[in-house]
Subunit: 272 residues, 2 copies
């Protein structure tokens, strides 16, 4: 059951995770939480006694995640929102002395997914100001905390939802979720060793002919340039550009001269 | 230089990372980004031509991170915001065919911290709708992407800042940042083997005397209860509570009887 899948595939463990927001004050936060969920492939939202819902601010902040708001379950009690779950996690910055065991978000994600492979799981988030009550936390089997700055650990509600859903997505796809790629990065095949060496010969010749490099006092200039271009892992296309530039520089300096050959190549091979 | 430290320690690599927001439309997002930064121990914010700033909406959404807004650097060009940096990372959901190499956020965090140990580093975030221009991205050495749902990858600006700062904090503290603990979890020392065994004897006696357990047909009730309590790893305090309850049940059933001893203990030892 733990196999990863897309956002709306019922076979994905992410589809068995519901986000429960209890007594949310600001409808904007409900919309922002819906958006955060959808960006990570979660879609099931339950609201326990929100102060204002439905509300235009929720819709505005949800952006294109308004479908999640429309499908949200509106509940009059926490038990109604938790019905059918086999495991409930409370997000809480505070450690409670009689609360359930506390896990940091990254560890919790693995644990949550394990349960979501077996049944319905809920993540419970409290009110923006008051957080979750002790009675709410005691209905949960685990608490989850975000390892925030001890000097200021007050994350926005939707930010907390975003982080937890992100950890769940990464855990569901074993750290490697499929990504959106809208462009194929430009790349040319890597240059062959002999092409790179001919480029260095050509470069050296231009450095000498231009007076930049004095063969009697080379000052490690060539090794330094080899280090630079070696690190760059030159592509065939780039070699052609660099060789073309060196050709042009040579022609400009001695307009009458025919291009000279580099040992190991026939004339004109750089243009291939 | 890579040693972890607190949020405002100048020795921390987090102190060498600036968040640069370019052409932000909504001042609320600037405030929310400041809050997100502070929760993860980052504090240096630069704003390139924001549409509205300063703005009361920014202050409202910053909550107690208004100090970051007050110290924010307001710039009229990207180059001004990037002055002095040795490495710049562009947050971009789009892969550009001539852009710099793209890293997922978690990998990028390690890379960013490495550079922040050597000099100033910037993380560049574009406009909410248009993102970053190709010209802006080409001023960066790397792009960073958040591995979001391919069907809906549009994270809110502050959510993206939150995720990246979270990954940086976790990477800075090697996955184990110090956490806020406001309560010492209640715990009593673990129960000793012999106390647990005496509890099982007592439990069995009550199960039999109550008629719940028929010794002729035990139906694996005791092994199942041993499994349950074994998993719970009983504490000494809990054993005392359970034994006290069993005592009370026995007294209620046979009010006249004196408490009977459990083999291996003197009377009254459960109350110690």
């Amino acid at each position: 059951m733990n196999r990863p899948a897309g956002s709306h595939s019922s076979g994905s463990p992410l589809a068995h995770i519901r986000v429960v927001l209890s007594h949310t004050s600001h409808p904007g936060n409900i919309g922002a939480a819906a958006r955060a969920m959808k960006t990570m492939g979660l879609s099931r939202l339950s609201l326990v006694n929100p102060k204002h819902f439905p509300d235009p601010q929720a819709v505005a902040r949800a952006a294109d995640a308004d479908d999640i708001l429309e499908q949200a379950q509106l509940c009059s009690s926490l038990d109604e929102a938790l019905a059918g779950t086999v495991q409930v996690y409370a997000l809480s910055a505070r450690h409670r002395n009689l609360g359930p065991p506390a896990l940091p978000a990254r560890e919790a994600a693995t644990d949550i997914l394990g349960w979501a492979g077996e049944g319905e799981v809920a993540l419970l988030f409290g009110n923006e100001t008051a957080g979750l009550s002790n009675a709410e936390v005691q209905r949960c089997q685990r608490t989850v905390f975000i390892p925030a700055n001890p000097d200021y650990s007050s994350l926005n509600l939707a930010s907390a939802v975003q982080l937890l859903c992100y950890e769940l997505r990464l855990a569901a796809f074993d750290g490697r979720p499929p990504v959106v790629t809208r462009a194929v990065p430009f790349a040319s095949p890597p240059a062959a060793h002999e092409d790179v060496e001919r480029f260095y010969l050509h470069l050296e010749r231009v450095m000498i002919s231009s007076g930049f490099l004095d063969p009697q006092r080379p000052r490690r200039l060539l090794p330094k340039l080899r280090r630079l271009f070696g690190r760059a892992e030159l592509e065939r296309d780039e070699i052609n550009i660099l060789r073309g530039l060196l050709d042009a520089v040579e022609r400009k300096a001695s307009p009458g001269d025919a291009p000279r050959a580099i040992p190991g190549e026939s004339l004109g091979s750089t243009a291939k």
